[in-house]
Amino acid sequence: MIAFDAVIREVQGLDAAELARWIEARWVLPEHAGEGYVFHEVDVARIHLIVELRREFLIDEEAMPVVLNLLDQVYALRSRLKSLAAAIATLPPETQATLRSALKAPP
């Protein structure tokens, strides 16, 4: 668990107003705890990513929601695919083989 100020110190070139804006825009979703926010590792990694997208990839704040939204969809879909794969792995081998050949066959 990491506090707001600690995040500002850890992430180079990030200022408080910027981070507050990102939270407001829901690009970053820290937890609310008492008066302030607490950040988890995933949030800090995401902040690093947004900083990199801004500084290195020159994605401006107008375009950022498009990028993050697509990124989140990719990760969400990958997560669902993983659980689908896990579910398939529990099926009988014949069923798995049927699936495999159906997926290989041309539509």
């Binding site: 668990m1 829901r26 979703l29 937890e31 609310h32 705890a33 008492g34 607490v38 988890h40 590792e41 995933v42 800090v44 990694a45 995401r46 690093h48 990513l49 990199e52 290195e56 990839f57 020159l58 929601p65 993050l68 939204n69 990124l71 989140d72 969809q73 990719v74 990760y75 969400a76 879909l77 990958r78 997560s79 669902r80 993983k82 689908l84």
Partner: protein, 303 residues
């Protein structure tokens, strides 16, 4: 992977300007950034290579030394400061999956793909009844709320919040299950559950070990030597406690039943604190007193 000549790695000429190098790096990084290519090992390896090359060539001093042959490309590769990818897919990253443009239900409904598939193939009815998915959330609660119980509001998604009853004595990492508060059921199936993992914020003074509470309590020299009654904070408010005469720093006193949810005890560790800034009268007294009453508190220490 063997390190490559950084100029070759980026595909720039030896005399490329800083501006050119930065432009080329940015273009390549956009293509190969691992967080934009989840699960693609080749992209990840390529990104490592180009960022190591850029690290070297974007630093004037390092670049000059490399050109003179004083350093080589090895060792330029440094670990990335962060990886979003590692979190993004599951567990902690799940809260970001329900982006603004997408309802979480769409994602839960993997079966809607199947139904669509069947429809397209001219297939039959395809009525599937299925329980909704469970959803995981994290909730950080204040130390005293975790000990005494509380109600707390948890924001699940924009405009959707849930009041969670924190039971007294909840443990770090404990998962509360709220029936029916997860993903919507499919085809009339029941909703999934919300699973709320509790994290407990530390307290500035209290520590918790199981059902017991521990507290360091500063006392005066007189209170330790002569004993006395002092007020001691507990998780349910201050209580009066008697300090026996001839107590010391490290003396542990027990307040029965003042632990977590009435189950454990509070253990109070005394800490003798001398008056701030010294005291002339005490100094004068100790000079005569210590000469007549020598003792060695360090005799137990191995030399």
């Amino acid at each position: 992977m063997a390190a490559r000549n950084p100029y070759e790695a980026l595909g720039v000429a030896k005399d490329a300007t800083d501006e050119e190098i930065r432009r080329v790096y940015r273009n390549l990084a956009k293509k190969f950034h691992p967080d934009l290519n989840p699960g693609n090992k080749q992209a990840e390896a390529r990104f490592k290579e180009i960022s190591a090359a850029y690290d070297l060539l974007s630093d004037k001093e390092k670049r000059t030394r490399y050109d003179r042959g004083e350093i080589d490309e090895s060792g330029a590769e440094r670990p990335r400061a962060y990886s979003y990818q590692g979190f993004a897919e599951d567990g902690p990253g799940a809260k970001y999956h329900a982006g603004e443009g997408m309802s979480p239900e769409d994602l839960d409904d993997l079966f809607s793909f199947f139904n669509r598939g069947r429809g397209a193939a001219g297939g039959a009815e395809g009525t599937i009844r299925m329980r909704g998915a469970d959803r995981r959330y994290g909730l950080t609660v204040e130390f005293l709320d975790a000990v005494n119980g509380a109600r707390q509001r948890l924001e699940l998604a924009p405009g959707k919040s849930l009041d969670v009853t924190i039971p007294a004595g909840v443990q770090e990492g404990q998962v509360l299950r709220l029936a029916g508060q997860g993903g919507a059921g499919i085809g009339g199936g029941p909703n999934g559950d919300a699973l709320i993992e509790i994290r407990i914020a530390p307290h500035p003074h209290f520590r918790r070990e199981g059902d017991d509470i521990h507290l360091d309590l500063p006392v005066t020299l007189a209170e330790a030597e002569l004993g006395g009654r002092v007020n001691v904070p507990t998780v349910t408010g201050a209580v009066a406690m008697t300090i026996p005469a001839h107590s010391n720093t490290g003396t542990v006193l027990r307040l029965r039943g003042k632990g977590v949810a009435g189950r454990g005890d509070e253990f109070v560790t005394l800490e003798v604190v001398l008056p701030e800034g010294g005291d002339a009268e005490l100094d004068a007294f100790l000079k005569t007193w210590s000469a007549a009453h020598p003792y060695d508190p360090r005799r137990g220490l191995a030399s």
